[in-house]
Symmetry: C2
Subunit: 134 residues, 2 copies
DNA sequence: ATTATTGTATTAAGTGCATAATACAGCAAT
DNA sequence: ATTGCTGTATTATGCACTTAATACAATAAT
């Protein structure tokens, strides 16, 4: 017996969309959770079935996301025990740096495509930050 | 008779990838060409077939991209004469503003997801710009 | 008037992603 | 030893995007 409020409280904080492959979006979310410390090195992950259920996704899809993450060395598997976050903290740090670098590069590229110089882009960013507090 | 160098010189400057719908990527490229002035208001566009050929894409796919652009008011069609860039310069300006705003918003969002504050992000961007010239 | 070019529509096929429904093997807990 | 949970594999179905091969209607050019 579960209490009525104990159904699925930790449900969809995955905000998955249909405009890109779901397994990619899951990978991105997991990577964020890893580099931001929501998952710590060595942490045990929920089972494929549980996570699939929580994300309202097919187990195959969740499985695929983890397969890819494992290929990248971010998680490792103990065949019948579960999955765990890598303990390679250097790898995690590198990933975070790379994600930040990629974000900056992509931003500058798209702004330049729109015709803005680096200086103009910097200025626009400053103004955007100013707007936020106002 | 064509000279040997007159084959398809203006070929693939479309760099389309397979990780996202092609018709979306085409729309993005066309929008960029419009807001950056490579196409001017009222300009006549090449035919669907020619553009499809140039981009190495199926005519249906190119057609779809244009249908969407037309829905957004960026191009208009003369039934059997061809397609033209909108002459609504305000719309074009608004689009450019929106694209820049979206780019900035997305950048700030992704950096915050990585744990960086607005100030930190600004600093990282400055450093990135400094690195470029060095 | 004829011809070529325009946008547009249709049908069939192939591919990748996601789902659903199972099933199996191996280890942990009991 | 049995039971339950783990990752993993398989088969079938559906959907969206893309391609291919046509075809048609309407206008511009000749």
């Amino acid at each position: 017996m579960e209490s009525t409020q104990n159904k699925k409280p930790t449900a969809d904080k995955w905000h998955l969309t249909s405009d890109r492959p779901v397994f990619i979006q899951i990978m991105e979310k997991l990577k964020l959770d890893i580099v931001t410390g929501k998952y710590l090195p060595g942490d045990k992950l929920p089972s494929v079935r549980d996570l699939a259920n929580e994300a309202s996704v097919n187990p195959n899809t969740m499985q695929r996301a983890f397969s890819e993450l494992e290929r990248e060395g971010l998680v490792y598997t103990q065949r019948t025990n579960g999955r765990f976050i890598t303990e390679d903290t250097d790898l995690i740090d590198l990933l975070k740096q790379k994600m930040a670098f990629d974000s900056i590069s992509q931003f500058l590229k798209s702004m330049r495509q729109l015709g803005f110089s680096g200086e103009e882009t910097l200025q626009l960013l400053k103004e955007a930050l100013k707007e936020e507090t106002a």
